[in-house]
């Protein structure tokens, strides 16, 4: 359920690090808590963001939730498919439901992220 190769935040975002690029999304726990998403506010391409900065907003009919950036860098691509079909996040949060790609400018802050095992332990404690 929790992919081993990703890094996580305690706010339930994930980051897939591919060289200098991070692909960002929200975890299965997050999408499950929100219920069916009806709207995703994507970040503008070119936006510079710090780790823990507000990156996107995901909304279901019951709640609006901020998505915080797991990394520091610049947004280079946003998943435009989510504008018309936000439910993709519910269906495939670790795959087709990715939110954006960020060019990492400070690799140092990656050490603040937790791995799959730590995230799993964290979830159990909630």
């Amino acid at each position: 359920m929790i992919p081993k190769e990703l890094l996580y935040t305690k706010d339930h975002e994930w980051a897939k690090i591919e060289g200098d690029i991070a692909v960002i999304g929200i975890t299965d726990h997050a999408q499950n808590q929100l219920g069916e998403l009806t709207f995703v506010e994507l970040p503008d391409v070119g936006k510079e963001i710090k780790q823990k900065g507000e990156l996107a907003v995901v909304e279901s009919s019951k709640a609006a939730s901020d998505v915080y950036s797991p990394v520091t860098g610049k947004v280079i691509e946003a998943n435009a498919k989510l504008e018309k079909n936000p439910e993709i996040v519910n269906d495939d949060c670790y795959g087709a439901g990715w939110i954006c790609k960020i060019q990492i400018t400070d690799k140092g802050v990656l050490q603040n992220l937790i791995d799959a095992t730590q995230y799993e332990i964290y979830l159990k404690g909630l």
């Binding site: 499950n32 219920g35 069916e36 009806t38 506010e41 907003v57 279901s60 609006a64 439910e87």
Partner: protein, 422 residues
């Protein structure tokens, strides 16, 4: 310094305690993940089992059922029961027939709504009063204070008293043998579900049961008060009041008979779609909304000689300027949902705010509080989305919009009928 409450206000400080599982908590754990269970009014209740949309549509198309065992059920009995309830509630209890139920309000002498309730007349001198879970401790304390002569009932006549009538908490199994908790079965095929658990004669009785009437009968050999009431806007709907020890058994029998368990999420989206008020949102709450503004003036009988809060209701009935209305907007995927407190805009001016909202299929329904003179069915109005995040605030999006403020809306909706039946 705290503002002094208006004279005649019933002041109640609820005790704080950690939430407890509802009577059906173990049944919920069999059906859904713990992460879908949340605290509501002091109880751990399911938000949804499968999905809100699926459960919502089950109630509209077939039959859904709800754990309402957290709702308060109080018995008021004895020779003074009728006169007590008639003085304490706004509707006409004297006109209520045995076997019928009545929507009503519990007010204090200042006219504050303490709760909206349903009164069931079981016998000439025996009533069941169903109160909101969130208001149950307050309602119990208020009735006890009235019975003890410790609450002001009439500001004009401070020595006015009502004859006491014993009040019993019917959910408390220590209060007597006849105990009741509520399970609701709602939707077009709910009679079929109940008939599977009933004798032929009972089945026929259920099919003939009219709205806001009830009977006492056995379902799956379990003694039930079966009433044609509900909170989903379904034309065909039932509430079953059973002894707490039988609740889990009946719950399972209802599942076997084809009712889909539904959580609080669908309960809310169904009542919003139907336009039904929720205490604290469309009644009382931050805007202190009165029954007249909410569209329930008919449940406040100003022609009664007396009821607690009557003078305040008299005044409001003649002076109110805003009302509760229902708004329909697009609910297609990718449309940002409207939310509580988002502003209602008419001709570039804020005329009110959203109280509750929900997605139902491809439309959103919002229940709004807005100027009475523009809340006409068919009128187009806009909604301004308040900021959902800090970054939106930094881009200039407002976190609150005041009445009469000039601002442009983001999405257009249409005022539709105050209520809708399904």
């Amino acid at each position: 310094m705290a503002e002094k409450p208006k004279e005649g206000t019933f002041v109640f400080e609820p005790a704080t305690s950690s939430p407890v599982g509802s009577v059906l908590y173990n049944e919920h754990l069999k059906l859904t993940d713990k992460s879908h269970i949340a605290e509501f009014a002091g109880y751990l209740m399911p938000l949804w089992y499968s999905s809100i949309a699926e459960e919502h549509s089950a109630v509209r198309q077939r039959a859904g059922m709800f754990d309402c065992t957290h709702m308060g059920a109080l018995e008021v009995a004895g020779p003074n029961a009728e006169s007590f309830l008639d003085a304490v509630t706004t509707n006409n209890v004297r006109a209520l027939q045995v076997g019928s139920a009545q929507y009503s309000y519990l007010l204090d002498a200042a006219g504050n709504i303490l709760d909206d309730i349903i009164i069931y007349r079981r016998e000439k001198e025996k009533f069941m009063v169903v109160v909101n879970a969130s208001n149950e401790p307050k309602a119990k304390a208020y009735l006890a204070a009235l019975n003890a002569g410790k609450a002001i009932i009439d500001l004009a006549k401070p020595d006015r008293r009502i004859k006491a009538a014993p009040v019993r908490d019917m959910r408390n199994t220590k209060s007597g043998p006849d105990c009741r908790v509520d399970i609701a079965v709602q939707g077009p095929s709910s009679p079929d579900v109940l008939c599977k658990l009933a004798d032929t004669s009972v089945g026929q009785q259920l099919k003939n049961l009219k709205s806001f009437t009830f009977c006492q009968a056995k379902l799956a050999s379990i003694d039930c008060i079966i009433s044609r009431t509900g909170y989903t806007g379904a034309k065909v709907c039932f509430e079953l009041f059973v002894h707490p020890k039988d609740a889990a058994k009946l719950w399972q029998k209802l599942i076997d008979a084809g009712a889909l368990p539904c959580g609080l999420g669908a309960r809310d989206s169904l009542r919003v779609e139907a336009g039904l008020p929720l205490y604290g949102h469309e009644l009382a709450g931050p805007y202190n909304i009165s029954p007249f503004e909410a569209g329930y003036g008919w449940a406040v009988k100003l022609d009664k000689e007396f009821f607690i809060g009557k003078s305040a209701m008299d005044k409001i009935s003649k002076t109110y300027k805003m009302k509760v209305a229902r708004l329909e907007l697009s609910g297609e995927k990718g449309v940002r949902p409207v939310r509580q407190n988002d502003a209602i805009i008419c001709d570039g001016i804020c005329v009110g705010w959203i109280l509750s909202s929900a997605t139902a299929g491809t439309r959103q329904i919002a229940i709004v509080y807005m100027d009475k003179d523009v809340a006409t069915e068919g009128n187009s109005v806009d909604v301004y989305y308040l900021a959902r995040s800090e970054s939106q605030v930094s881009k200039g999006r407002k976190q609150a919009v005041k009445k009469s403020e000039q601002i442009n809306g983001d999405i257009t909706g249409k005022v539709v009928s105050r209520f809708e039946k399904f």
